[in-house]
């Protein structure tokens, strides 16, 4: 048809109509939600996305919060450092008196037994051990 050819000369052949991004992807969901609101179907079991309400913090308040966090962190670090060094000093003191801090309880019992075996007892000590329920 000649007239149709005339039309095609004025037709780019490309669909000029566009849709918003994601329109078709979201259409069915939106439709079902609308039908739920209108009572045409049971409300779809869609978890309502509750968006977190973002409250812009006052810059001054934000600075205070950062400072508080820094103080807490500093206290934690200081306490940890104190405990670490204090414990180390205590360990050092004990080591200086001849105590083996690293010994297990079992080893310590064995060592004491050994000491007891080889302790030189006087007569009164011997008598004590023989008569007392030990």
């Amino acid at each position: 048809m000649i007239e149709e050819d005339l039309i095609r000369n004025h037709d780019t052949g490309v669909n000029p109509f566009k849709t918003p991004d994601g329109y078709f992807d979201s259409f069915t969901t939106r439709l079902m939600e609308r039908m739920g609101h209108e009572g045409l179907i049971e409300q779809p079991a869609v978890q309502q996305k509750t968006e977190a309400i973002v409250v812009k913090m006052n810059p001054f308040r934000r600075a205070i919060r950062y400072a508080a966090a820094a103080v807490v962190a500093g206290v934690c670090i200081a306490a940890g450092t104190y405990l670490y060094t204090h414990q180390s000093n205590a360990e050092q003191a004990l080591i200086g008196e001849g105590f083996e801090i690293a010994m297990s309880d079992e080893d310590l019992d064995d060592a004491l037994d050994y000491e007891m075996d080889y302790e030189i007892l006087n007569n009164s000590q011997i008598a004590y051990y023989l008569t007392e329920a030990y």
């Binding site: 004025h10 109509f17 939106r30």
Partner: protein, 183 residues
Amino acid sequence: MSTKWNEQQIVELLRDANRREQAFTLMVDHFKEQLYWQIRRMVLSHDDADDILQNTFIKAWTGLDGFRGDAKLSTWLFRIANNETLNFLERKRQTLSIDDEAAVGVAASLESDPYFDGDETARQLQEAIAQLPAKQRQVFNLKYFEEMKYEEMSEALGTSVGALKASYHHAVKKISEFFSQLD
């Protein structure tokens, strides 16, 4: 992995009262784009097309009991969409005076439409089509853009093949005259 359902499977599912809602969402997914573009070419505006498309499916849902299955599901949905579109255009025509229609101009309104990406040629074509009576415009769109066969169109629109051919012929003649006057 999503399963692709064909029309017949959706119809079978629609008959099951316990799975009707599931079937309905499948039906919407299956036909939404095809129906959207048929509506959009008629009403031009995306927002209007979106409203009409939603109303089409809502009408389909409420009228599911009346769907006997003797016509194809696509044909049945198309008829609902067609009626919704024509009713919309009639309401719009009645709310606008003749002067308003002439003054606004389709090409001018499309130029400012964010969802129309065509150039001057595309706008002129739409302006030419818009001057046709609604039913004639529909026949032209279905035949020219959708390349729908007359037999299929006859079933969808409930109009004889002969009447459709005549309607298309008149539409093409008017549009070509429009361009002849421009050139």
